[in-house]
């Protein structure tokens, strides 16, 4: 297995605040890596740096072509679901309309939203919008898929469907990196968890191991906050 993503010593400062203080991160094909950490620990920022949306102040990012699914989806509001999916293949990759549409339909079907192909984003539920956003990201066939808080807009039943979808994607040889604050979801569906605290990686490994027997105080605090939030 090869690395779809290698991050070394990533540093990032915003104003006087050091957000990332030297983060290392890898993701291999077939892996589902979960980034966890308290709010403000820099999880989302790491995804944005990897995607090239934010410049880093130091360190090294080697990433394959990236697809990203945002927490709030950011579907193109003026286009139908299927047009959201076909726009980049047709305009960037110069794929024919017919080919792009066939592929988009297949992706939407596969994700269970084929029947919503002609709906506008504002007409979709949170879960539907998220799956359209995944289809849009996959349409350009990126080896590395980033997902920011993918469970945030889902009810528990949908969470399980999403987990299955992520496994299926990983099984096709992609690397997935997601941020999440949902310990149960990470335990059930991630292949590896990376815990961030204060701009550094404090603990990483098998999700059952790390979340079942947290070694670092930050991980324990994270789980406590998570439990408190659930109650």
């Amino acid at each position: 297995m090869t690395n779809a993503l290698t991050v070394r010593g990533l540093r990032l400062t915003r104003g006087s605040r050091e957000i990332l203080k030297g983060v290392d991160l890898q993701a291999r094909e077939g892996e589902v890596v979960a980034l966890m950490g308290l709010s403000g620990s820099g999880k989302t920022t790491i995804l944005r740096v990897i995607a090239g949306l934010e410049p880093a102040d130091g360190g090294d990012v080697q990433a394959a072509k990236v697809g990203m699914v945002f927490q709030f989806h950011y579907l193109f509001e003026h286009l139908s679901a299927i047009d959201n999916v076909t726009l980049a293949p047709m305009q960037v990759q110069k794929v024919s309309r017919r080919e792009a549409e066939d592929r988009a339909k297949a992706l939407l079907d596969q994700l269970g939203v084929g029947h919503r192909a002609h709906a506008l984003p504002r007409e979709l539920s949170g879960g539907e919008a998220q799956r359209v956003a995944i289809a849009r990201a996959l349409a350009v066939d990126p080896p590395l898929l980033l997902l920011d808080e993918p469970t945030a807009s889902l009810d528990p039943a949908r969470r399980h469907d999403l987990g299955d979808a992520l496994h299926a994607l990983a099984a096709t040889g992609r690397a997935l990196v997601m941020t999440s604050h949902d310990a149960d979801f990470v335990r059930d569906h991630a292949t590896r968890v990376v815990v961030l605290a204060d701009g550094r990686v404090v603990e990483e490994g098998d999700p059952h191991q790390v979340l079942g027997h947290p070694q670092h105080p930050a991980t324990r605090e994270l789980l406590q906050v998570e439990r408190a939030r659930r109650r």
């Binding site: 995607a51 950011y74 305009q91």
Partner: protein, 491 residues
Amino acid sequence: MLFRLLVISAAAASLLPAPAMAQPQVLRWGGDAEGGAPFVEADPSDPSKLTGFDVEIAELIARKLGRTPQFLQVQFTSLDQSARRGDFDIGLSGIEDIPARRASLAASIPYYEFREVMTVRDGDRDRYRSLADLRGRKVATLGGTIAYDLLLEAERSHGLTAVSYDDDVHPYSDLLLGRVDAVVLDNVLADRAMRRNPGLATHADALATGHYIIITAPENTQLRDQVDAILREAMRDGTLEAIFRKWNVWNDDQPRLFARVAESGQSGSEPVASPAISSATMRYLPSLLRAAIVTLVLSCLAMALAVALGMSIAIGRVYGGPIIRLVLTVYVEVMRGTPVLLQLFVIYYGLAAVIRLPAFIAALLGLGLNYAAYESEIYRSALEAVPRGQLDAARILGFSRGQTLRLIRAPQAFRLALAPMTNDFVALLKDSSLVSMLTVVELTKQTQIFATNIGSWVVPGLLCAVLYLAMSLPLGHLARRLEARWRLPTP
């Protein structure tokens, strides 16, 4: 400028309650000093004073009535309405004797006889000898005059195009510039234009004759009768002749007129059957509809120009470098910060020495360039209102900056801009009435001509309002439907 101030102060003064007295001490007389010599003009040596034969006649009347003359500046085309409102006691400023005026106002006996004459460029003297020679050509005159009616008839009989101006100076300057090929106006104006503009020739033959009269409010027949008596006396004792001689407008027509007036012994204002409003409306309806089409076509083209240019400016201001941004900002501020009327004048008359734009093109450019400044601000804020996340998503998918703008940002911005754009289009539809200053006869101008000819604003005003609403209401409806269809979720 000075006269504008006079208007304002006079208008303000007329708002105050008049002191109750049997015989007012002041004789307010209305006229248009923009018309200039020899009627009424600011004294070149002292612009606060007025000179002209109409000024002297007004002073004569005031003196005979034992009152002090006080001038009120009124736009020539508004003199009738202003008299009816009672803004002034008597009005005189080369006011022509036409039936509609006699029907709706108290009018004096005629005090001067003029000939409608045709003026052409020197070189065309032999080519254009009568209106029949001007088929397919443009002929200019002052709107709402006998000469204008004459030209409207010649449009039908000789196939020329009548061009109506709001003043009597620009017809002649546009004649020299080649924008029109002849001017038909009365001999007094033609003589003055010949003195001012070398290179013009006037054919002396009268196309028609007409008379100047003095007007008062319709109910003020007592004052009108006093004015008639004073005029008759001035005709008999040579006072009027002396005034006309002083201003170089005395000729053989006048003694004949004076004799006729003395013989008739009648008051000036024999009630003349007013043209029936319904028949006048039927007569004017086609031209009102044509003028509404001019308004609509002009507004649509100007808006298209404003939208295209406004989008380019907005994109330049959002994406451009500092120099481009500065230049565009200056453009927007200058166009927004100066009156569109001034811009229209500069484009049509100011640039005439460099480029002689046809009136419609000048109007289109003036409105389009002006509205582009407003549109650009709408698009700029709309572009900036497209959520950052949309641009992030586009970037990760590999779209170039140009593609992102064309495929994602601009289409979304356009939807945000739709409501304010519709608003501006309706405003433009109404602002397009300003281009009548450039001789384009659009809806408001045609309404004004209609109103002047029948001597009332009620029916023309209503028709005009209905036509404007017929244009703007469907537009607002369409915009609301599009908006509903494109409604963006609240972020």
